[in-house]
């Protein structure tokens, strides 16, 4: 893809990207640890507990064991032949939709739940948008015998009913959040308020590469299995080559960060796709919310704006700080797609490949359809797309919108 209009990794300052941040948790000017004083000691403790566990072969052994025998890893890479033919672009798909609980969220949560147990914390709190992280958290809690409380905006409780029921079946308590925009942002606020009060016994199991240090780094490391596997799998399929383009959808940015971590030091172009109504990199400015300096949709005064998307998982006005850095240095590019394109992609993928995507990764598919059409991804290119989750949870919503 020599005439690619998406920038490649060639020439980028590779060594310093997606490495281990310093104790201040910075990714360039982004990141940090902007939390109430009550939580600072807990973040410091978590940071050293994670570093210690991540350097401990027995922790990896236990986590890898669960990822293999419980979550079903490695997930395959599927060659999408009919879609490729249609687009004139060779499309490979990393199938996180086939992981236990139906999305990549399980990778992060198994790691954090093991870590919580290691730190002697018996209770997990989590925020959820689409409900996938809530379901994954409830699952890990059930598996390890921990208590679990999931905060979810009332709007999302209504549009992701099925996942609410799943969480309750798994033994979690789901607490609907009625403040603010009643979506993911407000669920994070409420989870933080819970954690401020319960920090001595509770681990906050954040669902994406966001929040105060060490979360953005820790969650990226727990998700890098997606990119590490995919790189090897792509090399097998592509005769040792890396794909020209690597694309993933972005809510907070964890499936993208995990995917990019496997390719950041290759020549692959990295592309993140946001929802048009929640495009923190497309329309946001630097700010400090939810413990991190990053890019946020906000007004001139600094009040955070509500995001709007059909996808509950992307309905967030911010983005993980490492993505803000990758965008700032030009190693990854970020695009946004609208709800209509997403619904179109949802149907196209189902009909051409027999894969019903979650609405979140349908954003990545939508971008690919557009980029192949416009030539932004030139004919003959190879593309890896992370299919971060399956669409079962969204089928009812899409059916309703059709009628």
């Amino acid at each position: 893809m020599s005439d690619a209009s998406v920038p490649t990794g060639a020439g980028a300052p590779r060594a310093r990207l997606m490495g281990v941040p310093g104790p201040d948790g910075r990714f360039g000017e982004f990141g940090g640890r902007f939390v109430p004083e009550s939580l600072v000691p807990a973040c410091v403790e978590l940071s050293s507990a994670f570093d210690e566990a991540w350097g401990d072969p027995s922790f990896h052994e236990e986590l890898d064991g669960l990822l293999t025998t419980y979550a079903g890893r490695p997930t395959p890479v599927t060659e999408c032949r009919r879609l490729s033919e249609q687009l004139g672009v060779r499309v490979l798909m990393k199938r996180e939709d086939l992981a236990h609980t139906g999305s990549h969220k399980i990778n992060n949560v198994l790691g954090q739940a093991l870590l919580a147990r290691r730190m002697g914390k018996q209770r997990l709190v989590a925020e959820t948008g689409a409900g996938q992280h809530g379901v994954a958290s409830a699952t890990a809690a059930a598996l390890l015998g921990l208590r679990c409380v999931v905060y979810m905006g009332e709007v999302d409780v209504a549009r992701q009913e099925l996942n609410v029921f799943r969480m309750r079946l798994l033994g979690a308590e789901v607490r609907p959040v009625s403040s603010g925009s009643r979506t993911l942002k407000d669920a994070v606020n409420e989870a933080l308020r819970d954690w401020v009060a319960t920090v001595e016994t509770t681990h906050y199991c954040i669902g994406s590469v966001m929040g105060p240090h060490p979360y953005p780094y820790m969650v990226r490391e727990l998700q890098r299995v997606v990119g590490d596997e995919a790189r090897e799998q792509c090399r097998e399929v592509l005769g040792g080559a890396d794909p020209d383009v690597v694309v993933a959808c972005i809510g907070g940015g964890s499936n993208a960060a995990g995917t990019f971590a496997g390719f950041v030091d290759t020549r692959s172009a990295l592309v993140g796709v946001e929802a048009a109504g929640g495009a923190a990199l497309g329309s946001g400015v630097p700010g400090v919310v939810h413990g991190m300096r990053s890019m946020f949709l906000q007004d001139e005064d600094g009040q955070i704006l509500e995001a709007h998307s059909i996808s509950a998982g992307l309905d967030y006005p911010g983005i993980g700080p490492e993505h803000a850095q990758l965008a700032a240095v030009g190693r990854a590019t970020y695009h946004s797609v609208g709800d209509d394109e997403v619904l179109d992609a949802f149907r196209t993928l189902a009909a051409t490949e027999g894969i019903i995507p979650a609405l979140e990764p349908a954003h990545a598919v939508a971008w690919l359809l557009r980029a192949a059409r416009t030539g932004e991804v030139p004919p003959g290119s190879t593309v890896l797309l992370t299919m971060s989750g399956r669409g079962d949870k969204d089928v009812a919503q899409v059916m309703e919108m059709q009628s």
């Binding site: 201040d24 940090g32 640890r33 902007f34 939390v35 109430p36 004083e37 009550s38 939580l39 600072v40 000691p41 807990a42 403040s179 603010g180 942002k185 407000d186 606020n189 933080l192 308020r193 401020v196 009060a197 319960t198 920090v199 001595e200 400015v285 700010g287 400090v288 919310v289 939810h290 413990g291 946020f296 906000q298 001139e300 005064d301 600094g302 009040q303 955070i304």
Partner: protein, 265 residues
Amino acid sequence: MTGPGTHQVGALEARLRERRDAGSKLVVPYLTGGLDGEWIDTLRALAAAGADAIEVGIPFSDPVMDGPTIQEASERALRSGTTRHSILDALRGADVDVPIAVMTYYNLVARAGHRRSASELAAAGVAGAILPDLPLDEAGPWLAAADEAGVATVLLAAPTTPDDRLAAIGARSRGFLYAVGLLGVTGERRELAASARAIAARCMAVTDLPVLVGVGVSNAAQARELCEVADGVVVGSALVRRLLDGAGPKGAGEFLAELRAAVDG
């Protein structure tokens, strides 16, 4: 009492030290700016009823340190069009004789730039700033701008703060040291948390600054009890709830007088 050390003492710290050193306990109410059309009258009523300083909240869309009462007040203020500037404009003309400290979230001062925000506060006659989501480790650039503008940044100490950190926080705080009385967000509590007395005593041991306990201080009896171990109290949700219920400036003044009498008693 010993002196304030080497830093510049602003209006907030000067007033609180003076009152404390004269043997008085300190009562600092919190009021959400722009809560209703008569909030400046409420401010005056609180001053007249004996507040030693007043915290004015600049409402934020995502107040993670606040419980339901102050969340509701913030939402109400924002819905009626309150902005940082409308609050500062009103404060500039308020002409109250007690020091004002704003309580807000970091994004609201970071958005406009540290130096501009700090000088706007100073220009409105604001003596102090409390930013509960800006811990000491991240505060450097703001502290420099605030110091330069003559705005005292009040730091918070929590029950989970370890001793060495507490000493550093006490040394860098200006105006007073805010002892967070419990693990949790703002809001009324029936009982005083056991942690309130403990953190108050720990704070008193590391600094000569006035130490005020806030978060969860809900009534006159609790205020009096804490004044046995601290220099004073900050009372927020208990006042704001009364205002949400329609107490008005008069009711606010009466509640403050009740607190005043309890701690003076």
